[in-house]
Symmetry: none
Subunit: 413 residues, 2 copies
């Protein structure tokens, strides 16, 4: 009883996009304990897709398809599957209604091309797509063979997978023993430095502990395979607690926690508010803070002071500071932080000024130099200097915002 993933799309053969869908589904299958041995990518071509179905249906009992469910003529996954299994297509009025409703909600007219999205093979069940217009299907065209189709748009596919496909698979008896994981997240420490601290946990076999590094963040995944969440917690929790204790302030959250959420929760607990003053990030820090639903509880707003005139007129940065120390300096970061706190009347003010590049760097102030200012509820102002190195503009901006949040987190704790 194994699964197989089949991704349909000429754009994948042309290398236009990275196939993140297959990674997502692979991980999900692993978590559900459903083995899968092959992944195939094929273009929007009926003959070749039929050949792939022919091979896959002989060696697997669950076929997951992504892509080719759209309204255009080259979207032909559904009709090719139906042809292969010699089944007629039937129009589902509930799909037409659903598409019409979504078009209306966006103020658009449904088009004749969309009608073909309402066709599924006779006997198949609709796999609803809550967000997009392309539904998928669940179909057993023959004994011991289940097909599921998903659109290629990752956000739609993921939601359909979680809301309908997983419950269906579980109802079929899959996923009894599954892999439970807890991810611990760290900031302000490198992967090898953290690994040295927690080295002995890497030899554990149940749970296992494995490190992952991404931009500015290190994670440790603690995993165990078992039948119940209670049992999993009993195995994972003691190890997690020990590691968190060892890591101290560098540990900031678990699983899907984000820095913005953690900071937001700390502010909410303290009933304090914050405003941002941004130069090099141009609004990115505010965007990160307001990514969190309910952030209006503590985030009041900010001033994007990209031009020095705005730094002076709206944040009270002095022309002397700009002339003597320059816009990228401790003093300007501090004036910005205090300025936005006073202007918005918030508990905290946090500021960023730096050189995101690729141009604008000098020997004294190279690309990647960023100052972070923090004004606290007692009107004390501090600033720190960060050097992110000669990296790309978007990485420097991203790391700047993350580091500002992390600095604030440490002050709030």
């Amino acid at each position: 009883m194994s699964a197989e993933i089949i991704c349909v799309g000429t754009e994948l053969l042309l290398g236009d996009i990275v196939n993140t869908n297959v990674q997502f589904l692979a991980k999900e299958l692993a978590n559900l304990g459903i083995p899968h041995y092959y992944q195939t990518v094929v273009g929007d071509n009926p003959t070749r897709l039929k050949e792939v179905i022919n091979i896959a249906s002989q060696r697997a009992s669950i076929l997951l398809f992504t892509g080719g469910l759209g309204p255009t003529p080259d979207d032909l996954t559904t009709e090719t599957i139906a042809q292969y299994f010699d089944s007629p297509l039937v129009e589902k009025p509930e799909i037409i209604e659903d598409i019409q409703r979504k078009f209306q909600a966006r103020g658009r007219q449904m088009n004749d091309n969309n009608r073909k999205q309402a066709l599924i093979p006779k006997g198949a069940t609709i796999l609803p797509n809550p967000t997009g217009t392309a539904p998928g299907m669940i179909w057993e065209p023959q004994a011991n063979l289940t097909l599921m189709t998903f659109p290629g748009v990752p956000s739609e596919m993921k939601r359909m997978w979680a809301e309908t496909a997983v419950p269906h698979l579980k109802s079929q008896g899959y996923g009894k023993e599954i892999i439970f994981s807890r991810m611990l997240r760290f900031r302000g420490i490198g992967e090898s430095a953290l690994a040295t601290k927690v080295n002995r946990f890497f030899d554990l076999t149940n749970p296992t502990v494995a490190p992952y590094a991404s931009l500015g963040e290190v994670r440790l995944r603690i995993s165990t395979k078992t039948t119940s969440e209670t049992e999993a917690n009993a195995i994972i929790q003691p190890v997690a607690q020990e590691i968190i204790k060892i890591a101290g302030g560098d540990y900031f959250g678990k699983d899907d926690d984000t820095l913005a959420e953690v900071v937001g929760q700390l502010l909410r607990d303290r009933q304090e508010t914050i405003g941002v003053a941004e130069s090099c990030t141009g609004g990115g820090l505010g965007a990160m803070l307001t990514d969190i639903a309910g952030s209006s509880d503590y985030f009041w707003g900010g001033i994007i002071a990209y031009d020095n005139r705005v730094k002076m007129s709206l944040l009270g940065v002095t022309s002397e500071a700009l002339e003597v120390q320059g816009a990228v300096s401790n003093i300007v970061a501090e004036q910005m932080a205090l300025g936005v706190k006073q202007r918005l009347n918030t508990s905290w003010g946090i500021s960023l000024t730096g050189i995101a590049g690729p141009g604008g760097g000098t020997e004294m102030k190279p690309v990647g130099l960023v100052y972070i200012g923090i004004a606290d509820p007692d009107h004390q102002v501090h600033s720190i200097k960060c050097t992110f190195g000669d990296r790309s503009r978007d990485i420097i901006r991203y790391l700047s915002s993350c580091t500002a949040l992390d600095q604030l987190r440490r002050k709030l704790m």
Copy 2:
């Protein structure tokens, strides 16, 4: 004469890593004009790998393998290929020497495990790996079938591809005709609506025209296979111009152009400046505009007015407007746009106020309702109402910023 990509690695089946290798090779094959119709991923399992080789060698004449060339017992791509074609393995002393040299340079001792990396099938040629210890091979086990193997480490694979594989393929006569593409990008029109307008181009065979949709954007790719860029342009350009003419204002750029770049270039050409006033996007529009290096030429800054007190104190939004129409309304969007333009003294002011959700929606003002205000250099203010539907918070925020930029673009044109 088509190619096929076979990626070997259980880590790909577990979803531990994204398969960027296959995207790289896919793009390279497309550029060389070598068609490829299938990509397969298989685990470190000899039986299944042989099955994949069996299928692929019947339908393609070039097989590119990545992964499974390392020193550990589960690395078995080379020996499985040799077994499939019933060829003995021979030890290559030059590989042993190369590995020894690399180990010495890193101050390490070569291990017995590494000896197996020196084994390749009789008759195969070494595909040198300048940076790692795992070399690949180029082998013609039978007429009209060329195999190439690469390690799974992307940086090693890419260098081996560029330095040895591509010259070899060119010497075999590949890459004389390559695929040239032009991507046309559209906003403010759905995929099916655009498809209806340009339907007749989809039947063309040279160049071909194919649609792609992503969040809030539709793209058309015009492609041709030819020997020179000049000739490609002569084939692509007339079709591109016709489509651009038909699409009118919905066309915004080509290839890698972004809305923020296009808007920035229009502002720069007109020597005008802009400021942003953001509520629901919390800085995302400013971040998008300042994504572009050199945006300080026209972007001065903005005010993030998340809380109504900030809307009033810094943007001059009236309490009457807030009470009577509410923060999410035409009038508040217009007051915000005008407010930021006046406050920052910029040519243009652009504002966003809306309900990003998931909470905060009402029947009259549902989640996804967003108003965009634009104040122009003549102090005229306009606003438009957008309904993005009940989608996720991040998508609503992203589409809000994109639509604001697109509205500004249309006014600037």
